[in-house]
């Protein structure tokens, strides 16, 4: 067994610490986030008004809304299909941010007692595997969520946060409700991914709801398809009051400061 200890130490000496500095410093490593489309005014040399609609019509989930020469984005519906960015002559700019989590209930923040030890129960309510995988990536050495006092727990009885991925399938409805009921209060619910927020490409249908809000009350929403690990980490920090919740106003301000990827 000593070979593992040695190989672990050797790798650490050779490559240094891999863990992200986030939240102390922003992480700008390539490939940590797929980014999201940015709301923007559409100025066009030729037809003007029609271009905004043309861009919005390319969106298969209705996340883009063209209004008075401007395209707004409903992040809860965006599924990262890149159609607004890649097809046609006019395209939406994408920005490579990841602080996407938004508090949607007035009591989204847990109290001070939870500042350094929070237990999370993850429930898959019909997810395609990607969101769940990004949640799981939080435990890898690059993100190492334990350093921030977050822990996954197998039992809802010890959980403070219920983290739900997937659109909320009909046959998971009962298991999801029972898991929440088994958790002690105070407790918070984080919905992760476009499917959990809006049903994504699946819902609503006879077998699947339009997001998990119709099954359990949601405190924090994380858009993305899937949201990268840093976005999920941001949601956990918002839940414990250690990071600012994203909202559309601050998002726009933040955008002026960061580099834009077009």
């Amino acid at each position: 067994m000593s070979q593992w200890v040695l190989s672990g130490l050797k790798a650490k000496i050779k490559t240094g610490i891999k863990t992200t500095r986030y939240p102390a410093r922003p992480d700008r490593a390539p490939g940590v986030t797929p980014g999201l489309p940015v709301p923007r005014p559409v100025r066009s040399a030729h037809s003007g008004e029609g271009d905004a609609e043309r861009i919005a019509n390319r969106c298969p989930t209705g996340a883009l809304d063209a209004r008075e020469g401007r395209v707004d984005v409903d992040l809860r519906r965006c599924i990262h299909c890149f159609r607004c960015a890649r097809e046609g002559s006019e395209s939406m700019p994408w920005e490579g941010s990841y602080e996407w989590a938004a508090a949607v209930s007035p009591t989204a923040k847990l109290g001070h007692a939870f500042a350094s030890s929070v237990h999370i129960r993850v429930v898959d309510a019909g997810d395609c595997g990607a969101c769940l995988h990004e949640v799981k990536q939080l435990a890898n050495p690059y993100y190492n969520l334990h350093r921030l006092g977050f822990f996954f727990t197998p039992t809802p009885r010890q959980a403070d946060i219920l983290l739900v991925v997937g659109p909320g399938t009909d046959q998971m409805r009962e298991a999801l409700t029972k898991t929440l009921t088994a958790m002690p209060t105070p407790r918070r619910v984080i919905a992760v991914g476009a499917c959990a927020l809006s049903g994504g490409v699946f819902g609503p249908s006879f077998a699947c709801s339009e997001g998990i809000r119709s099954i359990v009350p949601v405190d924090i929403e994380v858009p993305g398809n899937p949201p990268p690990p840093l976005a999920i980490l941001h949601a956990l920090l918002v839940a414990t009051g250690r990071a600012q919740s994203a909202d559309s106003a601050s998002r726009t301000r933040q955008l002026d400061a960061v580099e834009r990827e077009t």
Binding site: M1, Q3, W4, S7, G8, K18, P30, G31, V32, P34, G35, P60, I79, H80, C81, F82, R83, R86, W94, R121, V122, V123, D124, A125, G126, D127, C128, G129, A130, C131, L132, H133, V135, K136, Q137, A139, N140, P141, Y142, F152, T153, P154, P156, P167, T169, D170, Q171, M172, A175, L176, V201, F202, P204, S205, F206, A207, C208, N225, P226, P228
Partner: protein
């Protein structure tokens, strides 16, 4: 995708009662028959011709069309479809499960979703639609069922109890799931035991049933592509590609050479990343912490590499009918290949350490065995079949895209235990790198997407060897380019069918490890 001509003839006794239609391109042979002839014809295709069962595709188009698809597992050869036509009023058909065990779940699914009864099937009901949640007799895949909203009448069966098999003194059942362990997909396993060993493992799936095949109907073909990518987010590109290839066959769309090469590169990048992730999970199931971290580091590096190269960590939004949605600069593809080579080198070092760790091997060797005979009977696919000496790799036996021109090996192991499955994962990861480097050398200049063509009505099957095994996507579109029927036969649906074989007769504490050595997707199975 042209194949060798099919040199077979239907047995004399059937020749007057069936109608044979060959596809002009030599891709497929359709044998149309009456429902009564299905069972003998299917057993003839399996036993005499030696083909493998791909799946059952039910279509409702004024009448019932039951299409049984078979593929050659030897040299590339045309597909065989046995197509039975029956009037819409007929809802009883004879089951073929007795002669082809692999058809078991296909018939159960069709019974639940279409309301067709397969006579002679040992057990129907409570499969996709759970009896404790839905009333009997609901057939959501039928055209007259409105899938957009819940049905008005909802009468679950309150008396439903899990099926039990073991009735020895002291026997008890241990339910696992649907919410279990720390971070896992939702599925239920009832483990029956009298103490230490699992005597019977009874899995129950479809908690995650999203009715993908139903909601796809009526959507535009390129919007249904979004569903194809999201039946298993971890192998999105392979599924998207299988779907895109089906549309390309229908429309006769040519894929530009550069796109064909990049598709190989991306598909193999995805396989490499998937297998590294599966290895990390396997290490985690044995609580080997350092190895888990080392494999997880490699996986995250591959995810970042994919994200930086294509814009999306899981390669969403790239595959499309006629090519790819975006080009990738040569220099970035080359840089990605160099980094992938470095990652595989570190993966090799990890493998060398793992095979010298006796406490790790003790948990895998001779645990969770699937024999070759079982793998054949259940028609298993992918790395699990290849670990049980059944080397079915669609890239080799039914080459699609550019794979015909590539040189690679199909790793195969004979033991069928957890360790064999682990070795197959490592060997396939190395082969994927080999294919990526070959693709890099062949990168031609030119467009990556052919011009949009007007939609053509028709139906076709698209297939890829996804990281988990053979993925079949059957698509029928109308002249407006809207989906009439979309049937997905993912590898996990085929392989979960045999999972109980591996779990039974082993101890409780082996169960999570056997689960990890299978490494299957529940999402893909449930759809």
């Amino acid at each position: 995708m042209a194949s060798a001509p099919l040199a077979l003839s239907v047995p004399e006794e059937w020749s007057t009662r069936v109608r044979i239609r060959d596809d002009a391109r030599g891709l497929q042979r359709e044998i149309e028959c009456r429902p009564e002839a299905v069972k003998p014809l299917c057993s003839w295709v399996i036993q005499t011709i030696g083909y493998a069962f791909a799946g059952l595709i039910v279509e409702e188009a004024g009448e019932w069309r039951l299409r049984y698809a078979f593929y050659s597992t030897e040299a590339p050869s045309a597909w065989i479809y046995i197509v039975a036509h029956a009037p819409h009023a007929q809802t009883r058909f004879s089951s073929i499960t007795e002669v082809i065990h692999a058809a078991d779940w296909h018939e159960r699914e069709a019974e639940d979703l279409f309301g067709l009864v397969f006579e002679g099937h040992p057990r129907l009901g409570d499969f996709v639609l759970h009896d404790d949640a839905w009333q009997e007799g609901l057939a959501p895949m039928r055209k007259n069922f409105d899938g957009r909203r819940p049905p008005p009448l909802r009468m679950p069966n309150p008396d439903w109890r899990p099926r039990r098999i073991v009735s020895a003194p002291g026997a008890f059942g241990m339910p696992v799931g649907p919410v279990y362990s720390a971070v896992t997909e939702s599925a239920h396993f009832l483990l029956e035991t009298v103490g230490e060993d699992v005597i019977r493992a009874l899995p129950r799936f479809f908690y995650k049933y999203r009715a993908v095949e139903k909601v796809a109907e009526g959507r535009r073909a390129d919007d249904a592509l979004l569903l194809a990518e999201r039946i298993n987010g971890l192998t999105a590109f392979a599924h998207g590609l299988a779907y895109a290839q089906a549309l390309e066959t229908i429309g006769g769309i040519e894929v530009p050479p550069r796109a064909a090469t990049l598709r190989v590169f991306l598909a193999e990048l995805e396989r490499l990343r998937h297998h590294v992730g599966a290895i990390a999970e396997l290490c985690e199931s044995t609580a080997l912490v350092v190895a888990t971290s080392q494999a997880a580091i490699l996986e995250e590096e591959l995810l970042r590499l994919s994200g930086a190269l294509t814009g999306h960590r899981y390669l969403f939004g790239l595959a499309t009918a006629g090519g790819l949605t975006r080009d990738l600069p040569d220099a970035e593809v080359a840089a990605a290949a160099v980094r992938a080579r470095d990652i595989v080198k570190r993966l090799d070092r990890l493998e060398r350490r793992l095979v010298r760790t006796s406490s790790f091997l003790d948990r895998l060797e001779e645990v969770g065995i699937v024999t070759e005979a079982e793998a054949r009977a259940f028609g298993l696919v992918g790395p699990i079949a290849r670990a049980s000496a059944v080397s079915r790799d669609l890239r080799a036996i039914q080459p699609y895209g550019a794979y015909r021109d590539y040189v690679f090996e199909v790793p195969r192991e004979a033991e069928g235990d957890g360790y064999a499955r682990l070795r197959v994962l490592f060997a396939e990861a190395r082969q994927s790198l080999r294919l990526m480097i070959q693709a890099l050398d062949r990168l031609a200049t030119g467009p990556v997407r052919s011009a949009d063509a007007a939609p053509i009505a028709g139906a076709a099957l698209g297939w890829t060897e996804a990281p988990l095994g053979a993925a079949f996507h059957w698509v029928r579109v109308d002249e407006q380019g809207r989906i009439l029927r979309y049937r997905i036969i993912p590898p996990s649906f085929v392989n979960w069918h045999a999972f109980h074989l591996a779990a039974e007769a082993f101890a409780f504490q082996d169960f999570p490890i056997i689960l990890a050595t299978f490494g299957l997707s529940v999402s893909e199975n449930d759809r």
